[in-house]
């Protein structure tokens, strides 16, 4: 009994690190400060800014930039992008309350935007023949969408996550179908049909906003209106977020059951989130209809919904600044990508970033890039020996990037056929890549990279609409792998 051996402290190799902290301390917890300490060099700059510049100062800078944009930019196209951005920020704010704070996966959110737009269109156009005052119609829209938000929230009280998503998705589709079908309604007491929404044709000729006798004829008017609204919303929402209501919303997102046992009235708060989000979206819809002077139901369907979700998730769900950032990316980027020159550069940037994210070390990354370049030359030389014809350079080149690449890449005569083939092969290779061993992965990666560039340059770059979606999708995938909490979201850390 008395000769039980004393346990020897291990002092060599990796455990030495733990021994320094003393046995019995939780390493992870003990090193928490160290881990959150500022990084050195370039990586530390964002953190340095966030620590030294207070949040309000950053908002003021943003506001000043937005103000300068409105005051000095005269280009109608640019101003329209600015207005779209404002609308996008409003939508992202609303969704940020519903999804970011309260954690309710509302896939019918965009319908409230549509209802706001159609509501304004019906109250201010020749469709039914009403031309009500802006004040009145905007007020009706805000109250109406809030009420609808309340109704939609009723089933949401008992639902969570995917179940709620299905119910709200259904609501969004009901809106679209109702609008499409409401151009031909026969009431039992009438002989002739009534056209309420004009179906897929949309409603044209909507009156612009008019406040105190001032008609919003210039797009700049809408820009100022949105700037003021967004500024007010920013202040209000961030205030609310710091009160007990905001805290309670976030507890519902984290753990509704625990929240309820703390006395949080979960159902009431869910409803509040829905109602607020719906009212904000409805107001944005009214502004959109007045600015656009025409509404089409196809604009309020799933594609827009995914873009709003992408904006909120990209920026970091639950962060207002993140919502603005995401909105900037999601509304401005598609415009930038209309120009093939920019989209080519962006594509290569995404590719390089992906390689950097996958490669992890500088050495790996360099090897990958060099291998891709070598593969390109090898393919070109081999096919050159086989004297297979290629497309003449002038016919294919769309910009400086493809001109540079033309010396390196093989461009087949039938670009559509070979592009499609490359697409299929690429998908198969990527699917294989995700399941195979590390060794084969290292071989496969440069081939996938080359095929990607080939597919892009030969087939996709001229197809602007498809490529926009693809690029945004690819960016989201890369971001979610490298920074799952979004640009400005809080990373999730748990010791459990």
């Amino acid at each position: 009994m008395s000769e039980s051996p004393v346990p020897k402290e291990i002092t060599h190799s990796a455990p030495a690190e733990a021994a320094k902290l003393g046995i019995g301390t939780d390493e992870w917890v003990a090193q928490h400060e160290e881990r959150t300490a500022r990084k050195k060099g370039l990586k530390g700059i964002p953190q340095l800014i966030s620590e030294t510049v207070p949040a309000w100062a950053r908002w003021v800078v943003l506001l000043a930039a937005a103000f300068a944009f409105g005051a000095f930019v005269d280009n109608q196209y640019l101003l329209r992008i600015g207005v779209n951005l404002g609308l996008f920020v409003m939508l992202a704010y609303g969704l940020n309350i519903v999804m970011g704070y309260a954690g309710l996966l509302d896939l019918g959110y965009v319908a409230f935007y549509g209802i706001g737009a159609y509501g304004y269109a019906l109250m201010s156009s020749e469709q039914i023949g009403h031309h009500w005052s802006t004040w009145l119609s905007v007020l009706i829209i805000i109250i109406g969408t809030a009420l609808l938000g309340y109704i939609v929230s009723l089933p949401a009280r008992r639902l969570f996550g995917d179940y709620l998503a299905i119910v709200t998705l259904f609501f969004g589709q009901v809106f679209v179908q109702l609008v499409l079908a409401s151009d031909n309604i026969t009431f039992p007491w009438a002989d002739d049909y009534v056209d309420i929404t004009a179906g897929a044709n949309g409603i044209p000729g909507i009156d612009p906003f008019s406040f105190f006798g001032h008609k919003f004829l210039n797009i700049r008017d809408y820009y100022w209106l949105l700037l003021v609204l967004v500024a007010l919303l920013t202040i209000t929402i961030s205030r609310v977020n710091r009160t007990r209501i905001g805290r309670a919303w976030r507890t519902i997102r984290e753990d509704a059951l625990a929240a309820e046992s703390m006395g949080v009235m979960v159902n009431r708060l869910k409803t509040m989130a829905f109602v607020t989000g719906a009212a904000i979206a409805g107001l944005a819809g009214a502004i959109f209809a007045a600015m656009q002077s025409a509404v089409f139901v196809s604009g309020f369907d799933m594609p827009l919904m995914t873009m709003i979700y992408a904006a909120v998730i990209l920026g970091g769900s639950g962060s207002l600044a993140g919502a603005v950032m995401g909105a900037i990316v999601m509304s401005v980027l598609p415009e930038v990508l209309r120009v093939t020159n920019y989209s080519e550069i962006l594509f290569l940037a995404v590719l390089v970033l992906t390689l950097a994210a996958v490669g992890k070390s500088v050495k790996r990354f360099t090897i990958n890039i060099v291998s891709i370049v070598l593969i390109g030359f090898a393919v070109k030389i081999l096919l050159g020996f086989a004297s297979i014809k290629i497309t003449p350079t002038e016919e294919w080149v769309v910009g400086p990037v493809s001109r540079a690449l033309s010396h390196w890449m093989y461009v087949p005569l039938d670009r559509v056929l070979w592009g499609n083939c490359a697409f299929v092969i690429l998908i198969v290779l990527i699917a294989y890549f995700t399941t195979t061993t590390p060794r084969i992965k290292t071989i496969l990666l440069p081939i996938i990279g080359y095929l990607g560039i080939f597919l892009w340059e030969v087939r996709l770059v001229t197809d602007v609409n498809t490529t926009r979606q693809l690029l945004i999708g690819a960016m989201l995938v890369v971001l979610m792998i490298t920074r799952p909490q979004g640009f400005l979201g809080k990373p999730r850390v748990e010791v459990l």
Binding site: R244, T251, E254, D255, A259, S261, V493, E494, V495, L496
Partner: protein
Amino acid sequence: MSEKKPLLEISNIDTYYGVIHILQQVNLRVDEGELVCLLGGNACGKSTTLKTILGMVKPKVGKIMFAGEDVTHQNTPARVKLGMAVVPENRRLFAPMTVLENLKIGAYVRGEAAEEDLERVYELFPKLKERSSQLAGTLSGGEQQMVAVGRALMSHPRLILMDEPSMGLAPKLVEQSFEMIANLHSQGVSMLIVEQNANMALSVADRGYVLQTGRIVLEGEAKELAGHEELRRAYLGR
């Protein structure tokens, strides 16, 4: 402790999960200022009793009186407002929120959290003050337990319900945890502790109940229970 005013009294509770009969004719009482422990092995209905008291599960028959009111048909937030507070199993902190926010949510039913309430919690757990801006999920188990208890205290509860305060803690932290419970008790806080660690629980409690497959099979003074032959064999492992 001499006035013997019942704070919580549940009588003849029957609780079902679907068709499964969980609690059968459970009677339980906590007096003002008393520390009562509810003991029992796995799956005997301890947590269900707590959930029934808190209103997360509704009993099929029976009556729950709290602070002189019949709360049988009230929902959880209403009961919390009347003065119940819970330290849930596994603590269930809101991990991505700061310690301060976690504490403040405890005062939700009272409105905005008062500064002096926070000070009181910090006085009890000085460590939380320095950690107040840290995310709750990054705390160690023992610190999380402090936050969970602090969060419960923020609502000025008349009764704290603790579900397995020893769960997932190292032996030393379990000891600390019970020291803290004894400390709170000496300040006059009424508590109902659900626990598997009978030894520890009985060492701090005034009275105890033993639950077995949904029935109360034993009740009595903590000292008596600690000396009870059968109980010792069954739960204390001695």
